[in-house]
Symmetry: C2
Subunit: 247 residues, 2 copies
Amino acid sequence: MGAGSDSDLAQALNDLRTGKLRGASMSQSIEASPKTNARRRTASKEVRCQQLINATIDSIARNGIGGTTMSTVTESAGLSMGIVNFHFQSKQNLLEETLLYLAKEHHEQWLAAFESAGMSASDKLLAIVDAHFHPRICTPKKLAVWFAFFGEAGRRKVYRKLIEDIDRERYTIAQDLCQQIGEEGAYQGLPPRQVANILEALYDGIWLELLAYPENYGRLEARDHITAFLSKVYPKHFQMPEFKQDA
Amino acid sequence: MGAGSDSDLAQALNDLRTGKLRGASMSQSIEASPKTNARRRTASKEVRCQQLINATIDSIARNGIGGTTMSTVTESAGLSMGIVNFHFQSKQNLLEETLLYLAKEHHEQWLAAFESAGMSASDKLLAIVDAHFHPRICTPKKLAVWFAFFGEAGRRKVYRKLIEDIDRERYTIAQDLCQQIGEEGAYQGLPPRQVANILEALYDGIWLELLAYPENYGRLEARDHITAFLSKVYPKHFQMPEFKQDA
DNA sequence: CATTATTGAATGAGCATTCAATCAATGCAA
DNA sequence: TTGCATTGATTGAATGCTCATTCAATAATG
């Protein structure tokens, strides 16, 4: 049977919601491109699926979702046409599995950062911010794929649901952290909900800036922008980063 | 600004069909001969082009760029298949003209607001912020189209070329205004460039939030979020909005 | 009458999907 | 170990569909 039927996807969504992660964690990555035995004609389902998902990310980043065909994916993977339908049943399913892969990766990244951060609310909030600009997450290719799916999310229920669940969990946690920080510092004026809203907007907005104008600033300065915002809202908890004077 | 301040697209489309032409152009109406019949089979190039662009916006909002075909556009416009190629030569050109239309509309909106605002830098900056959430600009349909284009990685170069001048102009103006405000208030810590970067990110990021989670908050509260940010950065120049306590 | 706009059937290109044939790996028996 | 059978993976040509584009015919306009 295939890698992802509808029920698989639904189950995975549930796992995301409850924080569980089925199957191989992303930290122990499945080697897709550099095989030990380079001449192997056949490989395990897991390896091929991962290889095809990577090729799909490549193709979407290069050609967009509309320009991604079975040919562009299989060519990029160095395989033949029929193999996607063999492993994923349909192109639509391949796309959904690709988005699911990115969603899981992102979720793991910030949740792990959140849990291993210091005890204080401000440390935890900063860890979540940092996770968004981690080199594994914040690559031009992956940003391109995220926005390709965002552009379709309005109509495709599956995409929307996937993104929505991850977003809500992070949003709720951030709001709680802001609540706590707000009480600790007795800050007035900007309630936790609005701070969390602005943070959510900044994640996506800065990602889009990085994607559209990569020469303007990079990952690290992007992160500093958000820290700067937090230091204006919660000055006792976050320090204003140093910004170099630009040419 | 422009003709038909509050007209939604459905109304505008109707007007176009009947030759009234309200909202056909952004700052001046395209005049059609007033004495002709309401039901003309033929119309001027300008009228038809605008009608087709409106139909394209509708179709992209409903079906995405990938799901937008010559048929969906011409059906929505109530015309026949061949007419797009007659007026726009190709589908790709129609898409580019549609993006250009939105970009120009947006540009006109904030530039007019900027120029007719009060003399102070803070008034002008606020006018630009407000323009992003004006009911003519900030509609679910148009937001959907913006992000559909952002997501089309394959054509990013082409699309970007169309809008980068407009983006840069706004960015530069905002940076200058922040510079001036910063000097007036002797504010320390967050240089004008970074404030302008955050503003740009917030425009797109909050638009995406409005599109993805329209039930969370609306246009006006969206605007208040940005004002809140500005009041934290430039407290002597911007007043913190009132945020109601949420349930 | 000349010009311009519009129609919609016809064309052909590109695409996802299917599937019969082929190849590789593994298990199993002798 | 070798030969053989079974299972699973892979290929790529063939199929049929959707769609952008063309264009000859037709209609409106002035």
